[in-house]
């Protein structure tokens, strides 16, 4: 128990006194995951919309496919992407392996199903009359879609937050295609993996604390949104 307290104390010191290496790692996590979410959201939500209003035969199968990917193990995605990006692989010439871009791509693959599945659910809850009212008042299709998104914005935000939670805490992809390079592709989760493999628990715990606080904040925010959603309905 003493060892644990001492380690936690060291961890807090590292965090509070702005250990540069530590904060580089934290910022890298955010940078990569934010990019992944920002790049994925527009396309995923448009697809979710299309699946909702498309009425084409394959839509149910596509939706089932994305639902099945919701809990795919991250190492599987990482391995799959590694094979594609390795020099000898089909996309080897792009030289993406062991770069942040590879991590972003992997995380995009990871959060896309989440955003589609949860976005679909949110959009489905939209009143049919939103579409009709917007159209009759002269809105072109693209603006009608935005109007619908605005009406279900809390559900969409919940989808985005869930997707973000999924990617900020993954390690399988970052480790495999990022390579855990210090200052370049080392993020919170791969750093924790490294530090614990070295037996350096203080750093690992410090980073773990950052991740836990973030998870807590996200969850609290999500509940706040859901309560607001209750009010407006």
């Amino acid at each position: 128990m003493n060892g644990l307290l001492l380690t936690t104390q060291q961890a807090l010191q590292l965090l509070l006194y702005g250990d540069a290496e530590l904060w580089t790692i934290v910022l890298l996590s955010f940078s990569v995951s934010l990019k992944a979410i920002l790049l994925t959201t527009p396309f995923a939500l448009l697809l979710a919309f299309g699946l909702n209003h498309g009425n084409f035969p394959g839509s149910r199968i596509i939706l089932a496919f994305f639902n099945s990917l919701l809990s795919v193990p991250t190492v599987v995605v990482g391995l799959f992407l590694y094979v594609l990006l390795t020099r000898q692989g089909p996309f080897g010439d792009l030289k993406l392996l062991f770069t942040q871009s590879a991590m972003v791509i992997g995380q995009m693959i990871l959060c896309f199903p989440v955003l589609v599945a949860l976005g679909y659910a949110a959009i489905q809850a939209a009143d049919r009359r939103v579409w009709e009212t917007a159209r009759t008042l002269g809105a072109p299709t693209w603006f009608t879609i935005l109007t619908i998104f605005y009406e279900v914005r809390f559900g969409l935000l919940a989808a985005v937050l869930t997707g973000f939670g999924r990617v900020i805490s993954e390690v399988g992809i970052s480790m495999m295609v990022g390579g855990n390079i210090m200052g370049y592709t080392r993020n919170i989760t791969t750093a924790i993996a490294l530090e614990t493999s070295k037996g350096e628990f203080a750093q690992g715990i410090a980073l773990g604390l950052v991740l836990l606080s973030l998870a807590f904040i996200l969850t609290a925010f999500l509940s706040y949104i859901q309560s607001k959603q209750g009010v407006t309905k």
Binding site: V130, E132, T133, T136, L137, A139, F143, E151
Partner: protein, 217 residues
């Protein structure tokens, strides 16, 4: 006799093998009000939505500048002139202002003109004090006024009102009828559906009954 704004021929619509509308003809004249009655489920809403371009008929023709054209080709051009209002006033989440001004962004008015338009419209229906109020906090009657104003501000040629005064107390009903009278006086062609035709005695110029998919006077 003035020229009709739009003439619809031979509207046919079926849902799951059931014929809802059989060869319905309707002409819409400016500054005239049509009252449409019929049982629940007789297809009144469907007819209005087809007129507004929100639902696709099996077959229909529209007369434009003397020539008859199929619905598919003609609808896109006339849709902008026709606005449909739902049975229970449906407002977007936001304020009275944001709702009323929703359609303005698709017009060619300048920012200044839009503000002017908004101000005048709110005055027209007496909503100026409520401008910043959240739409979902309003009573049913006031919400209906907001919906009217939202359509009025765009100066459409045709207004299709689906059961505009159902579930309203007498005072709200009278206010609503006043606004509808003003819209008619401004030259708009109005179609109202209702299963209580007595309310619209002074407003309606002609009454049709929709039964078995056919329109009868």
């Amino acid at each position: 006799m003035t020229e009709p704004l739009f003439v619809f021929h031979g509207i046919e619509k079926s849902y799951a093998e059931v014929e809802i509308l059989r060869k319905v003809d309707l002409s819409l004249y400016p500054a005239k009000c049509i009252l449409l009655t019929g049982k629940n489920g007789s297809g009144k809403t469907t007819l209005l939505k087809i007129l507004a371009g929100l639902e696709k008929p099996e077959k229909a023709e529209i007369e434009l500048s003397g020539k008859s054209r199929c619905w598919k080709k003609a609808m896109p051009t006339i849709r902008k002139e026709i606005i449909y209002l739902h049975q229970q006033a449906f407002l977007f989440s936001g304020t009275v202002e944001s709702n009323v001004s929703y359609g303005l962004r698709f017009t060619t008015l300048t920012r200044k003109q839009r503000r002017e338009s908004l101000k005048k419209a709110l005055e027209w229906s007496g909503l100026t004090e409520l401008a910043k109020q959240q739409a979902n906090t309003l009573s049913g009657g006031v919400q209906q006024r907001v919906a009217f104003t939202r359509a009025w501000i765009l100066k459409p040629k045709v207004l299709l009102l689906d059961e505009p005064v159902s579930n309203m107390d007498q005072e709200s009903r009278e206010q609503a009828c006043l606004l509808m009278q003003q819209m008619k006086s401004a030259g708009m062609s109005i179609v109202i559906t209702s299963h209580v035709p007595q309310y619209f005695g002074g407003l309606a110029d002609v009454q049709f009954d929709l039964a078995n998919g056919r329109l009868l006077q």
